[in-house]
């Protein structure tokens, strides 16, 4: 009982006195697009939805809480939803159950990224084709397809105890490492974790850090990177990482709370759509907690255009989104909402 009270007191003290980002001024302001979207459609589902794993002009593929299952949903959000069992999923799913098997659908192909193996499996919906490649040692944590048979991965470099970007050719098996792109900290890549995107229109890769406002832009030659910032003022990491040990098991992990700055993002046509976890100084707590706020940044020059806000769905913020044409496909825990974006969205702020 005493221990319980003590534990509760510590938790309360952390929340009361802790350096929680949205309990103080964050040092930046937002301006909003008027009429950023003209309409929306919603489809509610009973499934728990995890990730958008593929989008075509007509179809959205969504992974669910059921391991190895993907939903095929028409982009009009009407009609029957097809349930697809991903071939070979069980065989490659990590026995540790830590979601280390990532799925990407580039119809008609399905790619399974066994990140800790490390391996990439290429198959299709009816299991008539199957190719797999074992990669050189070192798990990877992020992956995108940047062209036919061309994958860019964020992969462990044991020499550095950190991760680097590499280009892997699925046909030839050739692997090329980056030159001087990543900042390394020797913690397994935890503090510099982020989201990796490939923008087909600019043929560039973009890496957005979770824990500070850094955005890297580079091409598939992996020779050098341009640096941009998200609109907040978090220029240095607030989180700390460390080496922990227990009964012979050693691990790097974060040893202070992980305050995410850039929660979700997507890049299209050189525009970064970034869902920030930070409230601007000109927003009320109520407004920020009742919306998913997305900042739009022109990555040609790093200029902040404006922001857009999306309402909650059944009390939840966006859990994932992609931009496809002039639509924002938003995923919530139990629904999909497609917003029709204003076609001039990228130019209003210029």
């Amino acid at each position: 009982m005493i221990l319980s009270l003590l534990a509760a007191s510590v938790i309360l003290a952390i929340f009361h006195y802790g350096d929680l980002p949205n309990r103080r001024k964050n040092g930046f302001k937002r301006s909003y697009f008027q009429g950023a979207y003209s309409g929306w459609q919603e489809r509610k589902l009973r499934d728990t939805l995890y990730d958008i794993v593929g989008v075509t002009p007509w179809t959205i593929y969504i992974s669910t809480a059921t391991e190895g299952e993907v939903l095929e949903v028409g982009k009009d959000l009407k009609g029957k939803i097809k349930r697809i069992r991903i071939p070979f999923f069980a065989r490659w799913y990590d026995s540790l159950q830590f979601s280390s098997l990532s799925i990407r659908i580039d119809s008609p192909h399905i790619y399974l990224f066994a990140e800790n193996k490390p391996a990439i499996v290429k198959t299709n919906f009816d299991s008539t084709s199957f190719e797999f490649r074992i990669l050189p040692p070192g798990a990877f944590s992020r992956e995108v397809m940047a062209g036919p048979d061309c994958f860019i991965l964020r992969k462990l470099e044991h020499r550095l105890t950190d991760q680097l970007f590499v280009r892997y050719n699925f046909s030839t098996g050739l692997l090329k490492k980056e030159v001087n792109i990543s900042e390394t900290y020797g913690d397994g890549g935890i503090i510099s974790d982020g989201q990796l995107h490939f923008d087909d229109s600019t043929k560039k890769l973009y890496y957005i850090y979770y824990y500070k406002n850094l955005v890297l832009s580079f091409d598939t030659s992996l020779a050098s990177a341009n640096k941009f910032a998200s609109i907040d003022t978090t220029t240095s990491f607030k989180m700390k990482t460390g080496l922990v040990e227990n009964s012979g098991t050693r691990a790097f992990t974060n040893i202070t709370p992980a305050n995410i700055i850039n929660r979700l993002n997507y890049v299209q046509n050189g525009l970064l759509f970034n869902m920030s976890a930070l409230k601007a100084d000109n927003e009320t707590d109520q407004f920020f907690s009742d919306h998913s706020v997305i900042d739009i940044i022109d990555l040609k020059n790093g200029k902040y255009l404006r922001s857009m806000s999306l309402p909650l769905s059944n009390g939840a913020r966006l859990s994932q989104f992609v931009i496809s044409g002039n639509k924002l496909v938003g995923l919530y825990p139990n629904s999909i909402i497609i917003y029709d974006l204003s076609l001039e969205l990228g130019r209003q702020g210029q």
Partner: protein
């Protein structure tokens, strides 16, 4: 009035936490000794496995939570 509400809220929280702690107290807490912190201030940290996995790895993104370096190296991500 506000203070009274706060006190009641804290009391309720204590009660909930105590009840929860009572339910799970059969599970032994695994303490992790933390040394050689990278990108942080030096020192010895003691955190429970639950704290590391739960409190310090929040959110519904598949963020990288830990990198296990014993036996085979494994990246652990927080599930969605």
């Amino acid at each position: 009035m506000k203070k009274q509400i706060s006190v009641v809220a804290i009391a309720v929280l204590f009660a909930v936490v105590s009840a929860f702690a009572g339910k799970v107290k059969q599970t032994p807490i695994q303490w992790w000794n933390v040394d050689h912190p990278f990108a942080g201030s030096p020192g010895i940290y003691q955190l429970s496995a639950t704290q590391i996995k739960g409190i310090y790895c929040p959110g519904n993104n598949n963020v990288e939570c830990a990198y296990l370096i014993s036996n085979t190296s494994t990246i652990i991500k927080k599930p969605f």
